[in-house]
């Protein structure tokens, strides 16, 4: 078989593949992205199956009250806290809230950012000016401080936190998408679609948006990681979920920060959970960035 024939064969085999399928294939070949996906899938499974996996309830007192809580042992692999609750069980149940917070906050930021960025980029003129100046104002304040200010205004609570962290994320999504739309809006295929009679709504939704949304999706995974950290930080400052029965990694670290010397396991293990999940999300984000970049097409 000649080289040309072999090439033709290969082209034929690739025949059915599409843009997203290509991206998926590239993602599959990226070891970092696979590791990230495994980590995130693992945490998601833990969160879903928490009642079955956790040896104890998150607020169940399995040991006595102790000034210096006991560290890891064979009965309690990650030790107990000062109220005699099993740290492993608390981390497992905490995964539910921490992941939820990450997904919801990033989702809030992403959806608001998509709407605002599309409006600004597509319509331009004064709509663009107003939206982007507000975004600039928000970007001028460090993101965490912004979230802190919003939570302070809304009052502590889970919903408020997720909303605040999400809103603090909006400017970066809006900015990223607006840039993409501006770049695509003047492109030849949009002009070609107009020349064939496509209405403005279709131009934006079917032609411009799908071509500018890839970097925003990547940013979404990274925003989930920072959302988990931000929520942990807000909890650390005492602005976390008001219900003391709710377990969350950041709150676990915050409550026990003062015991770092006497009972380091209370801080370190939930801290590891945060670090590993954020690492997983960052790996997936990096993988997506490479997979969705059309210049790396092979």
């Amino acid at each position: 078989m000649s080289v040309a024939q072999a090439e033709a064969r290969e082209l034929e085999l690739e025949d059915q593949s599409g843009l997203w399928r290509d991206a998926f294939d590239r993602l599959r070949r990226n070891p970092g992205a696979i590791a990230g996906t495994v980590i995130i899938a693992g945490f998601a499974a833990i969160a879903l199956l928490a009642p079955a996996l956790a040896p104890h309830g998150p607020n169940e007192q399995v040991g006595g009250l102790a000034a210096v809580p006991p560290g890891p042992s064979t009965d309690f692999p990650l030790g107990l806290d000062q109220q005699g609750r099993d740290v492993l069980s608390r981390i497992i149940f905490g995964a539910r809230l921490s992941l939820l917070v990450g997904v919801v906050s990033a989702g809030v930021g992403l959806s608001l950012g998509l709407v605002l960025g599309s409006l600004a980029g597509y319509f331009g003129r004064w709509i663009d000016s107003i939206i982007m100046r507000v975004m600039d104002l928000m970007l001028a304040v460090p993101q965490f401080l912004l979230a802190l200010a919003i939570v302070t205004a809304l009052g502590p609570g889970l919903i408020q936190i997720m909303f605040a962290v999400g809103v603090a994320n909006v400017p970066q999504f809006a900015r990223l998408l607006r840039g993409g739309i501006l770049a695509q809006r003047e492109s030849d295929y949009v002009l070609a679609a107009r020349s064939l009679g496509a209405p403005g709504r279709r131009l934006l939704l079917a032609h411009i948006l799908p071509n500018s949304v890839a970097p925003v999706i990547v940013q979404g995974t990274l925003a989930m990681a920072t959302a988990i950290i931000d929520v942990a930080g807000l909890s650390f400052l005492g602005l976390g979920p008001a219900d003391p029965g709710l377990t969350e990694w950041g709150k676990m670290v915050a409550e026990n920060a003062g015991r770092l010397e006497s009972a380091p396991h209370l801080v370190l293990f939930p801290g590891f959970a945060i670090v590993i999940s954020v690492l997983g999300l960052n790996l997936v984000g990096d993988g997506l960035r490479e997979a969705l970049d059309p210049k790396l097409k092979n």
Binding site: L11, E14, D15, Q16, S17, G18, L19, E186, S187, D188, Y189, L191, A192, A193, R194, S195, L196, G197, A198, P199, A206, H207, P210, N211, P294, K297
Partner: protein, 338 residues
């Protein structure tokens, strides 16, 4: 009556610093089954004119004049009505096949979109028709290729897809804006053949915008030469190439290399650069670069007027005299080295 007639079309772009006079009162008409060539160098207003006909210029453009099609002045139609004209009655093929297709939609989707919108076909009919169209422009295995994405096609095939999209609703006017510029020579010939067949079989009116005089010579019955936003010469292609009366047309013809050129024959470039379109001074725009320019050329703007015969028109105060016309070896002679 002409299929499409353009009267005193004027396009200006309002920019922060100045007003760009991109097209200055041009008029021409097109009949069905006719191929009209528009030639001129980059920035002379060829593409802007065609975008103006379709009403898809950027927001900072000001358009004046009349574009008459099927009894309507297209420039006065509301956008909702104009959208129904675009793609259905008048459609356009763009220059760069690599960037003119949406990379995230399948080729089939992009063709059927127009069919479903304008001809109200259902999904199955549209697929059927799209496959037929791809076959029509010479893409093998058309049915299966409908599911492919643009990046899976080569440049020439993408240009065919573009043509298939543009002709999908059997438009009465097809505007091809440098359809072969981005392609290599063998593909150029194939694409031009596809266009020629379409004009012959569907009785479409074709406006072929190009700077390739060879393409014009081979395909167009009539030719318009544009310079700095104005028509400087127009006429039957054969006549125009044999007796170019505008010094700019002559310059264009002299700067084209010929396959049958003898050794040592030199190309003669046109000196200078095109005029700045920001000002609308009186005088012929070509005068600064023109060896035939007179006092009058610099003072007064020449209007198109008949010369030689009624069909041949030129906008020049001092048309190229008979003695300077190229020897009769059409289409594009080269001046011999002295």
């Amino acid at each position: 009556m002409a299929l499409l007639s353009i009267d005193d079309l004027e396009v200006e772009f309002e920019t922060r610093r100045a007003t760009i006079h991109a097209v200055n009162r041009i008029s021409f008409s097109l009949d069905s089954g006719e191929t009209l060539g528009i030639v001129g160098e980059s920035g002379c207003g060829k593409s802007v004119s065609s975008l103006a006909v379709l009403g898809i210029l950027p927001a900072n453009a000001r358009v004046a004049g009349r574009v008459e099609f099927a009894g309507d002045d297209l420039l006065a139609l509301p956008d909702s009505k104009m959208r129904a004209v675009r793609g259905r009655d008048i459609s356009m093929i763009f220059q760069d096949p690599m960037t003119s297709l949406n990379p995230v939609l399948t080729v089939g989707r992009q063709i059927t979109e127009t069919l479903r919108k304008h001809l109200r076909m259902d999904a199955a009919q549209a697929d059927e028709e799209a496959a037929r169209l791809l076959e029509r422009v010479g893409i093998a295995d058309a049915r299966n290729r409908l599911r492919d994405y643009p990046h899976q096609f080569s440049g020439g095939m993408r240009q065919r897809v573009m043509i298939a999209m543009a002709i999908s609703c059997r438009p009465k006017v097809l505007i091809a804006d440098e359809p072969t510029t981005a392609l290599d020579v063998t593909l150029q010939a194939q694409i031009l053949e596809v266009l020629r067949a379409l004009v012959a079989e569907e009785r479409m009116g074709l406006i072929l915008i190009t700077h390739d005089l060879g393409v014009v010579a081979g395909l167009c019955e009539r030719t318009i030469v544009m310079y700095a936003g104005r028509i400087v010469e127009s006429g039957p292609t054969r006549e125009l190439f044999a007796r170019p009366r505008h010094p700019y047309t002559l310059g264009l013809l002299k700067s084209v290399p010929r396959v049958d050129a003898r050794a040592k024959e030199r190309l003669v470039p046109i000196p200078g650069t095109p005029r700045d379109l920001r000002s609308l001074e009186a005088g012929c725009a070509f005068a600064p670069r023109c060896p035939y320019a007179t006092e009058r050329s610099r003072a007064e703007t020449p209007q198109l007027r008949p010369i030689d015969d009624l069909e041949h028109r030129v906008a020049c105060w001092n048309p190229v005299p008979d003695g300077d016309l190229p020897p009769s070896r059409p289409p594009a002679p080269v001046e011999e080295e002295r």
